[in-house]
């Protein structure tokens, strides 16, 4: 059977595992999912990693890859959308609310308590969180109170463990974790759209790779994506 190397952002790990299984049931193809942070994957593909399909967790690294000479990116399109969620440990006393300008997060923090986020310097979820804080006018107050994780998962873990009373992660993460409660979604317009672009990699991408990428936009795939909390981007 043909083999297709799918380089997917680490935040897609669980859904992609499910999709791979689902796809392989009906197709005579060997899917090889490779997970790492979008940045690591982009750099590896830039260095010639044998990727056939790349699913990035943000637009920036797909752009960066396209800017590199020597790598051919084709059939790029936005595959998924996600939302940014405010979470708390599942035993929290804080009731659900929408984290907008009317509800500054500092009001929910005791002295010395922090909000865990992905590092706004480079973790995509952190960057979105920063945008959301800025657009709601609380960046100045919150910046010194952030606990920055190396990735979304780290931010999630801090909330799960009760180290921070609040955290900002993707809605998909909030849904998947048993240890946290989603307090609310940040207004969709408070930050750039959270988009997962997908593309074929290489000068002569195989038919199997193209078929799989197409299938990811199919209804069958959509069902699974939505089950994991993603929205289809459809553009």
């Amino acid at each position: 059977a043909d083999s297709v190397d799918v380089y997917a952002a680490a935040s897609l790990t669980d859904v992609m595992n499910a999709l791979v299984e689902q796809y392989e049931e009906n197709h005579d193809v060997d899917l090889v999912p490779v997970y790492a942070s979008s940045s690591t994957l982009a750099r590896q593909i830039g260095e010639g990693a044998p990727a056939d399909v790349y699913l990035s967790a943000n637009v920036k690294w797909m752009d960066w890859l396209q800017d590199q000479g020597g790598v051919v990116v084709s059939q790029r399109h936005n595959l998924l959308r996600n939302r940014l969620a405010l979470i708390a440990p599942d035993d929290t006393d804080i009731p659900s609310f929408t984290p907008d300008a009317e509800h500054p997060l500092v009001d929910y923090l005791e002295d010395g308590e922090r909000v865990s986020v992905g590092d706004p310097a480079h973790v995509p979820a952190g960057i979105y969180a920063k945008q959301a804080f800025e657009s709601t006018g609380q960046w100045q107050t919150l910046e010194p109170r952030l606990a920055r994780g190396s990735d979304v998962r780290a931010a999630l873990a801090l909330v799960e463990r009760g180290e921070t009373p609040l955290g900002v992660v993707y809605a998909t993460d909030a849904q998947a974790s048993d240890g946290v409660k989603q307090l609310g979604l940040f207004p969709a317009d408070s930050h750039d759209p959270i988009i997962y672009p997908a593309a074929l990699i290489g000068e002569h991408p195989g038919d199997a790779a193209g078929a799989f990428l197409d299938w990811l936009s199919s209804d069958a795939a959509r069902e699974t994506f939505e089950q994991y909390g993603f929205e289809m981007a459809n553009d």
Binding site: S39, D119, A121, H122, A147, A154, L158, R161, E163
Partner: protein, 233 residues
């Protein structure tokens, strides 16, 4: 020459790695001694636990630290209640993470050197009226000094370069826990920041080299002091 951010990261790194070394050096030597010169039940277990941070991915160690030392952790909650101390998100926490990761390297090197100390000399010291403890402090340990130094360098370097456990347990807080490796990681994850990454990389290397030079000098001094014949062969 250095940007303010770089200076800050450098300073935190030194503070964290230095503290990490400081907190593990005595327990490290003690554990090495136990493992090198004693037989006791549970020795294999202790040996195993000491090595854990070496065999687990750092992020996992950081997570385990969070489980144990976090505010809901067994020890962490006790610390918080009793002393009001909370380690995550503090540079002390980063030092703890660095220390834990560096611990097996220190213990191994010290143990190796302790085992190489001639028991004949220890026996001679015993007959001169020295207790086991005095023998250890005055004979065994000084003779194992090269190992302690080597272990110290390894530990310091390891703590200096510690990333996974630190960011997981102590988070990446500028001015508090953002050490050089954390700063470096941030830049490397950002497209187009290769220049800044290279600078941070160079700073890390410079610090490490400096500590290396110091340790070599120390070790050489120890050795030269004792050197007699047959050393130039």
């Amino acid at each position: 020459m250095l940007t303010e951010l770089e200076q800050q990261a450098l300073w935190i790194s030194l503070q964290v790695a230095g503290s990490a070394l400081a907190i593990i050096v005595v327990p490290g030597i003690l554990v090495a001694w136990l493992l090198a010169r004693h037989e006791f039940p549970g020795k294999a277990l202790l040996d195993g636990i000491v090595h854990l941070p070496l065999v687990l991915p750092p992020v996992v160690v950081g997570y385990l630290l969070l489980v144990v030392m976090g505010r809901r952790g067994v020890i962490g909650s006790w610390l918080l209640e009793t002393f009001g101390i909370s380690l995550p998100f503090t540079w002390q926490g980063a030092a703890l993470a660095g220390g834990v990761m560096a611990f097996p390297l220190l213990v191994r090197a010290v143990r190796l050197s302790l085992e190489a100390v001639d028991p004949k000399l220890e026996a001679a010291a015993r007959t001169l009226g020295a207790t086991r403890l005095r023998v250890f402090i005055t004979i065994t340990l000084p003779l194992a000094l090269p190992g302690v130094i080597t272990g110290g360098v390894l530990a310091f370097a390891r703590a200096l370069s510690e990333f996974g456990a630190t960011i997981t347990f102590a988070s990446n807080i500028p001015g508090e826990t953002r050490t050089l490796p954390l700063a470096l990681y941030s830049t490397i994850q950002t497209p187009g920041m290769e220049g800044a990454a290279a600078r941070l990389c160079a700073i890390s290397v410079a610090v490490a080299m400096a500590s290396l030079v110091v340790s070599e000098w120390l070790a050489r001094r120890t050795r030269r002091r004792m050197a007699g014949r047959d050393t130039g062969l």
